[in-house]
Symmetry: C2
Subunit: 240 residues, 2 copies
DNA sequence: CGAGCCGTTGAGGGGATTCAAGCTCAGTGG
DNA sequence: CCACTGAGCTTGAATCCCCTCAACGGCTCG
Protein backbone atom coordinates (compact mmCIF):
# COMPACT_ATOMS: atom_id res chain seq x y z
CA UNK A 1 0.00 0.00 0.00
CA UNK A 2 0.93 3.65 -0.21
CA UNK A 3 3.04 4.81 2.76
CA UNK A 4 1.24 7.52 4.64
CA UNK A 5 4.20 8.90 6.60
CA UNK A 6 7.83 8.90 5.59
CA UNK A 7 9.96 12.02 6.01
CA UNK A 8 8.97 13.88 9.14
CA UNK A 9 9.13 17.30 7.53
CA UNK A 10 6.83 16.59 4.62
CA UNK A 11 3.11 16.64 4.50
CA UNK A 12 1.67 13.15 4.29
CA UNK A 13 -0.12 13.97 1.07
CA UNK A 14 3.21 14.87 -0.54
CA UNK A 15 4.42 11.34 -0.07
CA UNK A 16 1.19 9.98 -1.41
CA UNK A 17 1.59 12.11 -4.52
CA UNK A 18 5.21 11.07 -5.07
CA UNK A 19 4.29 7.43 -4.77
CA UNK A 20 1.13 7.76 -6.78
CA UNK A 21 0.83 5.14 -9.47
CA UNK A 22 -0.89 7.44 -11.96
CA UNK A 23 1.31 10.45 -11.37
CA UNK A 24 3.13 9.94 -14.65
CA UNK A 25 -0.10 10.25 -16.59
CA UNK A 26 -1.85 12.70 -14.31
CA UNK A 27 -2.20 16.46 -14.55
CA UNK A 28 0.65 17.29 -12.23
CA UNK A 29 2.93 14.72 -13.74
CA UNK A 30 4.68 17.65 -15.41
CA UNK A 31 5.59 19.12 -12.03
CA UNK A 32 8.70 18.08 -10.15
CA UNK A 33 8.87 16.89 -6.55
CA UNK A 34 9.58 20.38 -5.23
CA UNK A 35 6.51 21.79 -6.90
CA UNK A 36 4.48 18.89 -5.63
CA UNK A 37 5.64 19.77 -2.16
CA UNK A 38 4.10 23.21 -2.49
CA UNK A 39 0.71 22.00 -3.54
CA UNK A 40 0.16 18.80 -1.61
CA UNK A 41 -1.77 20.40 1.21
CA UNK A 42 -4.46 21.48 -1.19
CA UNK A 43 -5.08 18.15 -2.86
CA UNK A 44 -7.14 15.65 -1.01
CA UNK A 45 -7.64 12.00 -1.58
CA UNK A 46 -11.21 10.82 -1.99
CA UNK A 47 -12.89 7.43 -2.06
CA UNK A 48 -16.33 6.72 -3.42
CA UNK A 49 -18.50 3.63 -3.51
CA UNK A 50 -20.02 2.32 -6.71
CA UNK A 51 -23.10 4.27 -7.84
CA UNK A 52 -22.17 7.29 -5.72
CA UNK A 53 -22.58 10.64 -7.43
CA UNK A 54 -19.28 12.51 -7.64
CA UNK A 55 -20.94 15.71 -8.80
CA UNK A 56 -24.30 16.62 -10.33
CA UNK A 57 -24.95 18.32 -13.63
CA UNK A 58 -25.44 22.01 -12.97
CA UNK A 59 -23.56 21.92 -9.69
CA UNK A 60 -21.07 24.76 -9.50
CA UNK A 61 -17.63 23.45 -10.21
CA UNK A 62 -15.21 24.25 -7.43
CA UNK A 63 -12.88 21.33 -8.09
CA UNK A 64 -11.66 18.90 -10.67
CA UNK A 65 -10.65 15.32 -10.11
CA UNK A 66 -8.02 12.85 -11.19
CA UNK A 67 -9.12 9.24 -11.31
CA UNK A 68 -6.55 7.04 -9.57
CA UNK A 69 -8.62 3.88 -9.81
CA UNK A 70 -12.07 2.94 -11.02
CA UNK A 71 -14.50 3.99 -13.70
CA UNK A 72 -16.72 7.07 -13.94
CA UNK A 73 -19.72 7.55 -16.19
CA UNK A 74 -21.15 10.85 -17.36
CA UNK A 75 -24.92 11.05 -17.57
CA UNK A 76 -27.45 13.48 -18.92
CA UNK A 77 -31.18 13.27 -18.87
CA UNK A 78 -32.96 13.64 -22.16
CA UNK A 79 -35.97 15.83 -22.79
CA UNK A 80 -38.01 12.66 -22.51
CA UNK A 81 -36.93 12.30 -18.93
CA UNK A 82 -34.79 9.21 -19.10
CA UNK A 83 -31.08 9.28 -18.60
CA UNK A 84 -28.41 8.65 -21.20
CA UNK A 85 -24.81 7.80 -20.47
CA UNK A 86 -22.71 9.90 -22.84
CA UNK A 87 -19.10 9.01 -21.93
CA UNK A 88 -16.85 7.01 -19.63
CA UNK A 89 -13.60 7.96 -17.96
CA UNK A 90 -11.01 5.75 -16.28
CA UNK A 91 -7.68 5.62 -14.53
CA UNK A 92 -5.53 8.68 -15.17
CA UNK A 93 -8.32 10.78 -16.62
CA UNK A 94 -8.88 14.31 -15.38
CA UNK A 95 -12.56 15.15 -15.08
CA UNK A 96 -14.68 18.13 -14.20
CA UNK A 97 -12.59 20.46 -16.35
CA UNK A 98 -15.53 22.83 -16.61
CA UNK A 99 -14.64 23.92 -13.10
CA UNK A 100 -11.62 25.79 -14.42
CA UNK A 101 -13.94 28.01 -16.40
CA UNK A 102 -16.17 28.82 -13.45
CA UNK A 103 -18.89 26.88 -15.15
CA UNK A 104 -21.41 24.46 -13.72
CA UNK A 105 -20.66 20.79 -14.31
CA UNK A 106 -21.95 19.64 -17.68
CA UNK A 107 -23.00 16.12 -16.65
CA UNK A 108 -23.80 13.99 -13.68
CA UNK A 109 -20.59 12.13 -12.82
CA UNK A 110 -21.33 8.76 -11.22
CA UNK A 111 -19.05 6.00 -9.98
CA UNK A 112 -19.32 2.77 -11.97
CA UNK A 113 -16.99 0.93 -9.62
CA UNK A 114 -15.46 1.86 -6.28
CA UNK A 115 -13.41 4.97 -6.97
CA UNK A 116 -10.16 6.46 -5.80
CA UNK A 117 -9.81 10.11 -6.71
CA UNK A 118 -7.72 13.17 -6.09
CA UNK A 119 -9.70 16.32 -5.56
CA UNK A 120 -7.98 19.38 -7.01
CA UNK A 121 -9.44 22.78 -6.08
CA UNK A 122 -10.02 25.11 -8.99
CA UNK A 123 -8.05 27.89 -7.33
CA UNK A 124 -4.96 25.72 -7.14
CA UNK A 125 -4.81 25.21 -10.87
CA UNK A 126 -5.48 28.90 -11.45
CA UNK A 127 -2.49 29.83 -9.31
CA UNK A 128 -0.14 27.35 -10.90
CA UNK A 129 -1.39 28.20 -14.33
CA UNK A 130 0.16 31.65 -14.41
CA UNK A 131 3.15 31.35 -16.66
CA UNK A 132 3.29 27.61 -16.23
CA UNK A 133 2.84 26.72 -19.87
CA UNK A 134 3.56 23.03 -19.40
CA UNK A 135 0.54 22.79 -17.17
CA UNK A 136 -1.61 24.69 -19.66
CA UNK A 137 -0.63 22.33 -22.42
CA UNK A 138 -1.38 19.39 -20.18
CA UNK A 139 -4.84 20.76 -19.57
CA UNK A 140 -5.52 21.22 -23.25
CA UNK A 141 -4.47 17.65 -23.86
CA UNK A 142 -7.05 16.49 -21.36
CA UNK A 143 -9.74 18.52 -23.03
CA UNK A 144 -8.91 17.17 -26.44
CA UNK A 145 -8.85 13.63 -25.11
CA UNK A 146 -12.29 14.04 -23.62
CA UNK A 147 -13.61 15.47 -26.87
CA UNK A 148 -12.10 12.61 -28.80
CA UNK A 149 -13.68 10.08 -26.46
CA UNK A 150 -17.04 11.70 -26.84
CA UNK A 151 -16.89 11.69 -30.62
CA UNK A 152 -15.71 8.11 -30.63
CA UNK A 153 -18.73 7.29 -28.48
CA UNK A 154 -21.02 8.52 -31.23
CA UNK A 155 -19.18 6.59 -33.92
CA UNK A 156 -18.72 3.35 -31.96
CA UNK A 157 -21.52 3.00 -29.45
CA UNK A 158 -24.36 4.87 -31.08
CA UNK A 159 -24.06 3.34 -34.53
CA UNK A 160 -25.43 0.17 -36.07
CA UNK A 161 -27.49 -2.76 -34.82
CA UNK A 162 -27.73 -3.67 -31.15
CA UNK A 163 -25.32 -6.58 -31.31
CA UNK A 164 -22.62 -4.43 -32.88
CA UNK A 165 -23.03 -1.76 -30.22
CA UNK A 166 -22.78 -4.30 -27.40
CA UNK A 167 -19.65 -5.82 -28.90
CA UNK A 168 -18.00 -2.42 -29.21
CA UNK A 169 -18.99 -1.55 -25.66
CA UNK A 170 -17.30 -4.70 -24.41
CA UNK A 171 -14.22 -3.75 -26.41
CA UNK A 172 -14.15 -0.31 -24.83
CA UNK A 173 -14.75 -1.64 -21.33
CA UNK A 174 -12.02 -4.23 -21.66
CA UNK A 175 -9.70 -1.47 -22.84
CA UNK A 176 -10.44 0.51 -19.70
CA UNK A 177 -9.55 -2.47 -17.52
CA UNK A 178 -6.00 -3.25 -16.51
CA UNK A 179 -4.95 -6.72 -17.63
CA UNK A 180 -5.45 -9.49 -15.13
CA UNK A 181 -8.35 -8.11 -13.18
CA UNK A 182 -11.85 -8.89 -14.36
CA UNK A 183 -13.74 -6.25 -16.30
CA UNK A 184 -16.56 -4.13 -14.93
CA UNK A 185 -19.81 -5.43 -16.37
CA UNK A 186 -22.61 -2.85 -16.26
CA UNK A 187 -26.10 -3.62 -15.06
CA UNK A 188 -28.52 -4.30 -17.92
CA UNK A 189 -30.25 -1.03 -17.30
CA UNK A 190 -26.91 0.74 -17.58
CA UNK A 191 -26.06 -0.98 -20.84
CA UNK A 192 -29.41 0.27 -22.04
CA UNK A 193 -28.57 3.84 -21.04
CA UNK A 194 -25.22 3.63 -22.81
CA UNK A 195 -26.39 2.03 -26.03
CA UNK A 196 -29.96 3.31 -26.18
CA UNK A 197 -31.68 -0.06 -26.03
CA UNK A 198 -34.21 -1.82 -23.83
CA UNK A 199 -32.86 -3.77 -20.88
CA UNK A 200 -34.34 -6.94 -22.35
CA UNK A 201 -32.33 -6.47 -25.52
CA UNK A 202 -29.19 -5.91 -23.49
CA UNK A 203 -29.89 -9.04 -21.48
CA UNK A 204 -30.53 -11.19 -24.54
CA UNK A 205 -27.35 -10.05 -26.25
CA UNK A 206 -25.15 -10.47 -23.18
CA UNK A 207 -26.59 -13.95 -22.61
CA UNK A 208 -26.00 -14.85 -26.23
CA UNK A 209 -22.37 -13.68 -26.08
CA UNK A 210 -21.90 -15.73 -22.94
CA UNK A 211 -23.17 -18.79 -24.78
CA UNK A 212 -20.81 -18.00 -27.65
CA UNK A 213 -17.88 -17.94 -25.23
CA UNK A 214 -17.00 -14.30 -25.82
CA UNK A 215 -17.88 -13.41 -22.27
CA UNK A 216 -17.94 -15.19 -18.96
CA UNK A 217 -19.20 -13.73 -15.72
CA UNK A 218 -16.90 -13.78 -12.70
CA UNK A 219 -19.29 -12.04 -10.37
CA UNK A 220 -22.57 -10.16 -10.32
CA UNK A 221 -21.00 -7.05 -11.83
CA UNK A 222 -17.76 -8.33 -13.34
CA UNK A 223 -16.69 -10.59 -16.18
CA UNK A 224 -13.78 -11.63 -18.33
CA UNK A 225 -13.77 -11.40 -22.09
CA UNK A 226 -11.99 -13.50 -24.65
CA UNK A 227 -10.30 -10.66 -26.54
CA UNK A 228 -9.63 -12.77 -29.61
CA UNK A 229 -13.17 -14.08 -29.78
CA UNK A 230 -14.49 -10.57 -29.27
CA UNK A 231 -12.36 -9.28 -32.11
CA UNK A 232 -13.58 -12.07 -34.36
CA UNK A 233 -17.18 -11.40 -33.45
CA UNK A 234 -16.82 -7.71 -34.26
CA UNK A 235 -15.25 -8.41 -37.62
CA UNK A 236 -17.95 -10.94 -38.46
CA UNK A 237 -20.57 -8.40 -37.45
CA UNK A 238 -19.06 -5.66 -39.60
CA UNK A 239 -18.84 -7.91 -42.63
CA UNK A 240 -22.62 -8.21 -42.87
CA UNK B 1 -19.55 44.67 -47.33
CA UNK B 2 -16.35 44.65 -45.35
CA UNK B 3 -14.06 47.58 -46.21
CA UNK B 4 -10.79 46.27 -47.53
CA UNK B 5 -8.70 49.43 -47.20
CA UNK B 6 -9.12 52.21 -44.69
CA UNK B 7 -6.08 53.60 -42.94
CA UNK B 8 -3.15 53.72 -45.34
CA UNK B 9 -0.62 52.40 -42.83
CA UNK B 10 -2.49 49.24 -41.82
CA UNK B 11 -2.48 45.89 -43.43
CA UNK B 12 -5.75 45.20 -45.20
CA UNK B 13 -6.42 42.11 -43.12
CA UNK B 14 -6.25 44.27 -40.00
CA UNK B 15 -9.23 46.24 -41.16
CA UNK B 16 -11.04 43.08 -42.04
CA UNK B 17 -10.43 41.74 -38.53
CA UNK B 18 -11.58 44.96 -36.87
CA UNK B 19 -14.75 44.98 -38.91
CA UNK B 20 -15.35 41.25 -38.56
CA UNK B 21 -18.86 40.43 -37.50
CA UNK B 22 -17.86 37.45 -35.39
CA UNK B 23 -14.89 39.11 -33.72
CA UNK B 24 -16.75 39.53 -30.48
CA UNK B 25 -17.30 35.81 -30.20
CA UNK B 26 -14.08 34.68 -31.89
CA UNK B 27 -10.80 33.54 -30.41
CA UNK B 28 -9.01 36.86 -30.74
CA UNK B 29 -11.97 38.81 -29.51
CA UNK B 30 -10.05 39.17 -26.27
CA UNK B 31 -7.26 41.04 -28.02
CA UNK B 32 -7.38 44.80 -28.54
CA UNK B 33 -6.93 46.60 -31.84
CA UNK B 34 -3.21 47.08 -31.30
CA UNK B 35 -2.66 43.38 -30.78
CA UNK B 36 -4.76 42.64 -33.81
CA UNK B 37 -2.46 44.89 -35.78
CA UNK B 38 0.49 42.68 -34.87
CA UNK B 39 -1.08 39.44 -36.00
CA UNK B 40 -3.19 40.33 -38.98
CA UNK B 41 -0.55 39.43 -41.55
CA UNK B 42 -0.59 35.84 -40.36
CA UNK B 43 -4.30 35.24 -40.56
CA UNK B 44 -5.75 34.60 -43.93
CA UNK B 45 -9.32 34.59 -45.09
CA UNK B 46 -10.58 31.44 -46.75
CA UNK B 47 -13.66 30.53 -48.73
CA UNK B 48 -14.91 27.02 -49.38
CA UNK B 49 -17.75 25.61 -51.44
CA UNK B 50 -20.35 23.26 -49.97
CA UNK B 51 -19.09 19.67 -49.62
CA UNK B 52 -15.45 20.75 -49.81
CA UNK B 53 -13.14 19.07 -47.29
CA UNK B 54 -11.51 21.61 -44.98
CA UNK B 55 -9.12 19.05 -43.54
CA UNK B 56 -8.99 15.27 -43.37
CA UNK B 57 -8.87 13.07 -40.31
CA UNK B 58 -5.25 12.16 -39.66
CA UNK B 59 -3.92 15.16 -41.55
CA UNK B 60 -1.24 16.94 -39.53
CA UNK B 61 -2.70 20.01 -37.96
CA UNK B 62 -0.78 23.14 -38.86
CA UNK B 63 -3.68 25.54 -38.46
CA UNK B 64 -6.99 26.10 -36.75
CA UNK B 65 -9.97 27.91 -38.16
CA UNK B 66 -12.65 30.33 -37.07
CA UNK B 67 -15.98 29.99 -38.85
CA UNK B 68 -17.21 33.41 -39.99
CA UNK B 69 -20.17 32.04 -41.92
CA UNK B 70 -21.55 28.64 -42.79
CA UNK B 71 -21.77 25.21 -41.24
CA UNK B 72 -19.12 22.51 -40.80
CA UNK B 73 -19.67 18.85 -40.09
CA UNK B 74 -17.21 16.46 -38.48
CA UNK B 75 -17.14 12.93 -39.86
CA UNK B 76 -15.55 9.67 -38.89
CA UNK B 77 -15.72 6.35 -40.64
CA UNK B 78 -16.82 3.41 -38.56
CA UNK B 79 -15.15 0.02 -38.48
CA UNK B 80 -17.93 -1.11 -40.79
CA UNK B 81 -16.68 1.29 -43.40
CA UNK B 82 -19.52 3.77 -43.55
CA UNK B 83 -19.22 7.30 -42.35
CA UNK B 84 -20.88 8.85 -39.33
CA UNK B 85 -21.30 12.55 -38.69
CA UNK B 86 -20.41 13.12 -35.06
CA UNK B 87 -20.79 16.88 -34.58
CA UNK B 88 -21.60 20.19 -36.25
CA UNK B 89 -19.99 23.61 -35.84
CA UNK B 90 -21.25 27.01 -36.96
CA UNK B 91 -20.61 30.71 -36.98
CA UNK B 92 -18.11 31.84 -34.36
CA UNK B 93 -16.84 28.36 -33.57
CA UNK B 94 -13.12 27.65 -33.46
CA UNK B 95 -12.26 24.28 -34.99
CA UNK B 96 -9.20 22.15 -35.47
CA UNK B 97 -8.03 22.75 -31.91
CA UNK B 98 -5.99 19.55 -32.07
CA UNK B 99 -3.49 21.51 -34.14
CA UNK B 100 -2.37 23.36 -31.02
CA UNK B 101 -1.23 20.08 -29.55
CA UNK B 102 0.74 19.05 -32.63
CA UNK B 103 -1.76 16.33 -33.15
CA UNK B 104 -3.34 15.06 -36.34
CA UNK B 105 -6.90 16.20 -36.94
CA UNK B 106 -9.38 13.93 -35.21
CA UNK B 107 -12.13 14.06 -37.83
CA UNK B 108 -12.79 14.92 -41.43
CA UNK B 109 -14.08 18.49 -41.47
CA UNK B 110 -16.45 19.09 -44.37
CA UNK B 111 -18.40 22.16 -45.46
CA UNK B 112 -22.17 21.75 -45.19
CA UNK B 113 -22.81 25.13 -46.81
CA UNK B 114 -20.54 27.63 -48.53
CA UNK B 115 -18.00 28.61 -45.88
CA UNK B 116 -16.13 31.72 -44.87
CA UNK B 117 -13.23 30.99 -42.56
CA UNK B 118 -10.18 32.55 -40.98
CA UNK B 119 -7.13 30.36 -41.05
CA UNK B 120 -4.96 30.76 -37.95
CA UNK B 121 -1.51 29.16 -38.03
CA UNK B 122 -0.65 27.05 -35.02
CA UNK B 123 2.60 28.95 -34.48
CA UNK B 124 0.75 32.21 -34.10
CA UNK B 125 -1.32 31.00 -31.19
CA UNK B 126 1.76 29.46 -29.61
CA UNK B 127 3.54 32.81 -29.67
CA UNK B 128 0.63 34.77 -28.34
CA UNK B 129 -0.12 32.16 -25.74
CA UNK B 130 3.01 32.87 -23.69
CA UNK B 131 1.81 34.77 -20.67
CA UNK B 132 -1.40 35.77 -22.39
CA UNK B 133 -3.75 34.13 -19.95
CA UNK B 134 -6.88 35.66 -21.46
CA UNK B 135 -6.16 33.84 -24.68
CA UNK B 136 -5.52 30.60 -22.85
CA UNK B 137 -8.82 30.87 -21.08
CA UNK B 138 -10.53 31.61 -24.36
CA UNK B 139 -9.06 28.45 -25.83
CA UNK B 140 -10.23 26.35 -22.95
CA UNK B 141 -13.71 27.75 -23.37
CA UNK B 142 -13.73 26.58 -26.96
CA UNK B 143 -12.62 23.14 -25.97
CA UNK B 144 -15.29 22.82 -23.38
CA UNK B 145 -17.92 24.06 -25.80
CA UNK B 146 -16.92 21.45 -28.33
CA UNK B 147 -17.03 18.74 -25.69
CA UNK B 148 -20.43 19.89 -24.56
CA UNK B 149 -21.72 19.85 -28.13
CA UNK B 150 -20.44 16.37 -28.64
CA UNK B 151 -22.07 15.05 -25.49
CA UNK B 152 -25.29 16.78 -26.37
CA UNK B 153 -25.13 15.04 -29.73
CA UNK B 154 -25.23 11.68 -27.99
CA UNK B 155 -28.10 12.67 -25.73
CA UNK B 156 -30.18 14.45 -28.38
CA UNK B 157 -29.44 12.97 -31.77
CA UNK B 158 -28.47 9.41 -30.95
CA UNK B 159 -31.34 8.65 -28.59
CA UNK B 160 -34.87 7.42 -29.12
CA UNK B 161 -37.01 6.57 -32.15
CA UNK B 162 -36.25 7.97 -35.58
CA UNK B 163 -38.93 10.64 -35.53
CA UNK B 164 -37.64 12.06 -32.30
CA UNK B 165 -34.09 12.20 -33.63
CA UNK B 166 -35.17 13.99 -36.79
CA UNK B 167 -37.16 16.54 -34.79
CA UNK B 168 -34.20 17.27 -32.55
CA UNK B 169 -31.92 17.58 -35.54
CA UNK B 170 -34.21 20.20 -37.03
CA UNK B 171 -34.16 22.01 -33.71
CA UNK B 172 -30.39 22.04 -33.65
CA UNK B 173 -30.10 23.12 -37.27
CA UNK B 174 -32.56 25.95 -36.82
CA UNK B 175 -30.56 27.05 -33.80
CA UNK B 176 -27.42 27.21 -35.92
CA UNK B 177 -29.17 29.43 -38.46
CA UNK B 178 -29.40 33.18 -38.04
CA UNK B 179 -33.04 34.34 -38.01
CA UNK B 180 -34.48 35.37 -41.33
CA UNK B 181 -32.41 33.26 -43.66
CA UNK B 182 -33.64 29.79 -44.51
CA UNK B 183 -32.13 26.82 -42.72
CA UNK B 184 -29.64 24.42 -44.26
CA UNK B 185 -31.45 21.17 -44.98
CA UNK B 186 -29.09 18.18 -45.27
CA UNK B 187 -29.34 15.61 -48.02
CA UNK B 188 -31.19 12.47 -46.97
CA UNK B 189 -27.97 10.53 -46.99
CA UNK B 190 -26.45 13.10 -44.64
CA UNK B 191 -29.39 12.92 -42.29
CA UNK B 192 -28.80 9.19 -42.28
CA UNK B 193 -25.14 9.68 -41.36
CA UNK B 194 -26.06 12.04 -38.54
CA UNK B 195 -28.91 10.06 -37.04
CA UNK B 196 -27.86 6.52 -37.95
CA UNK B 197 -30.84 5.67 -40.10
CA UNK B 198 -31.52 4.56 -43.67
CA UNK B 199 -32.02 7.29 -46.24
CA UNK B 200 -35.54 5.98 -46.87
CA UNK B 201 -36.43 6.48 -43.23
CA UNK B 202 -35.02 10.00 -43.32
CA UNK B 203 -37.01 10.75 -46.46
CA UNK B 204 -40.27 9.39 -45.05
CA UNK B 205 -39.93 11.41 -41.87
CA UNK B 206 -39.00 14.66 -43.61
CA UNK B 207 -41.90 14.25 -46.00
CA UNK B 208 -44.24 13.57 -43.13
CA UNK B 209 -43.09 16.67 -41.26
CA UNK B 210 -43.59 18.71 -44.40
CA UNK B 211 -47.16 17.43 -44.63
CA UNK B 212 -47.65 18.31 -40.96
CA UNK B 213 -46.53 21.88 -41.67
CA UNK B 214 -43.49 21.77 -39.40
CA UNK B 215 -41.17 22.17 -42.35
CA UNK B 216 -41.40 23.75 -45.78
CA UNK B 217 -38.70 23.57 -48.41
CA UNK B 218 -37.44 26.83 -49.90
CA UNK B 219 -34.88 25.22 -52.17
CA UNK B 220 -33.21 21.94 -52.90
CA UNK B 221 -31.03 22.20 -49.83
CA UNK B 222 -32.77 24.76 -47.69
CA UNK B 223 -36.01 25.05 -45.76
CA UNK B 224 -37.82 27.06 -43.13
CA UNK B 225 -39.22 25.55 -39.96
CA UNK B 226 -42.20 26.60 -37.90
CA UNK B 227 -40.43 26.83 -34.54
CA UNK B 228 -43.66 26.67 -32.57
CA UNK B 229 -44.95 23.64 -34.46
CA UNK B 230 -41.56 21.98 -34.09
CA UNK B 231 -41.60 22.57 -30.35
CA UNK B 232 -45.08 21.13 -30.10
CA UNK B 233 -44.11 18.11 -32.15
CA UNK B 234 -41.12 17.42 -29.91
CA UNK B 235 -43.18 17.67 -26.78
CA UNK B 236 -45.86 15.42 -28.22
CA UNK B 237 -43.16 12.94 -29.18
CA UNK B 238 -41.60 12.95 -25.72
CA UNK B 239 -44.92 12.41 -24.02
CA UNK B 240 -45.32 8.96 -25.54
C1' DC C 1 -40.98 -15.59 4.29
C1' DG C 2 -42.62 -12.00 1.49
C1' DA C 3 -40.96 -7.83 -0.92
C1' DG C 4 -38.16 -5.90 -4.18
C1' DC C 5 -34.43 -5.70 -7.44
C1' DC C 6 -32.05 -7.78 -11.15
C1' DG C 7 -31.64 -10.84 -14.82
C1' DT C 8 -33.60 -14.10 -18.17
C1' DT C 9 -36.70 -15.83 -21.57
C1' DG C 10 -41.01 -16.03 -24.46
C1' DA C 11 -44.72 -14.04 -27.37
C1' DG C 12 -46.54 -10.46 -30.06
C1' DG C 13 -46.58 -6.10 -32.34
C1' DG C 14 -44.51 -2.12 -34.35
C1' DG C 15 -41.05 0.54 -36.22
C1' DA C 16 -37.07 0.60 -39.14
C1' DT C 17 -34.55 -1.64 -42.84
C1' DT C 18 -34.30 -3.70 -47.15
C1' DC C 19 -35.64 -4.34 -51.79
C1' DA C 20 -37.81 -2.25 -55.54
C1' DA C 21 -40.00 0.91 -58.57
C1' DG C 22 -40.92 5.44 -60.22
C1' DC C 23 -40.33 10.40 -59.89
C1' DT C 24 -38.01 15.06 -60.78
C1' DC C 25 -34.31 17.60 -62.34
C1' DA C 26 -29.74 18.96 -64.27
C1' DG C 27 -26.31 17.87 -67.41
C1' DT C 28 -24.87 15.70 -71.83
C1' DG C 29 -24.78 14.67 -76.42
C1' DG C 30 -27.26 13.01 -80.50
C1' DC D 1 -35.03 20.01 -79.48
C1' DC D 2 -35.24 15.95 -76.97
C1' DA D 3 -33.95 11.45 -75.63
C1' DC D 4 -30.56 9.70 -72.41
C1' DT D 5 -28.40 9.39 -68.22
C1' DG D 6 -27.47 9.56 -63.35
C1' DA D 7 -28.15 11.53 -58.86
C1' DG D 8 -31.28 12.51 -55.36
C1' DC D 9 -35.92 11.99 -53.39
C1' DT D 10 -40.23 9.59 -52.64
C1' DT D 11 -43.29 5.85 -51.92
C1' DG D 12 -44.81 0.91 -51.50
C1' DA D 13 -44.36 -3.88 -49.85
C1' DA D 14 -42.12 -7.42 -47.35
C1' DT D 15 -39.03 -8.64 -43.85
C1' DC D 16 -36.76 -8.44 -39.67
C1' DC D 17 -34.91 -6.42 -35.67
C1' DC D 18 -36.03 -4.54 -31.50
C1' DC D 19 -39.45 -2.92 -28.16
C1' DT D 20 -43.19 -3.88 -25.16
C1' DC D 21 -45.67 -6.69 -22.20
C1' DA D 22 -45.50 -10.58 -19.40
C1' DA D 23 -44.09 -14.34 -16.49
C1' DC D 24 -40.61 -16.49 -13.81
C1' DG D 25 -36.24 -17.56 -11.01
C1' DG D 26 -32.39 -16.15 -8.08
C1' DC D 27 -30.86 -13.17 -4.75
C1' DT D 28 -30.65 -9.89 -0.85
C1' DC D 29 -32.77 -7.82 2.93
C1' DG D 30 -36.07 -6.29 6.14
Amino acid sequence: MIPIYRGGSRHPQADVCVACAVRGQALFGALDDAALDRIHTRIESLDLAADAVLYPRGGDGTALFTIRAGLVRFERSTSRGDRRIVRLAGRGDLIGLEALLQRPYADDAVACTPLQLCRIPRALVDELGHGESALTRELMLRWQDALDQSEAWVADLATGPARRRVLRLLLKLSGLTEPGVPMWLPRREEIGAMLDMAIESASRLISQLRREGVLSATGPRSATVDRAALQRAIEAQDRL
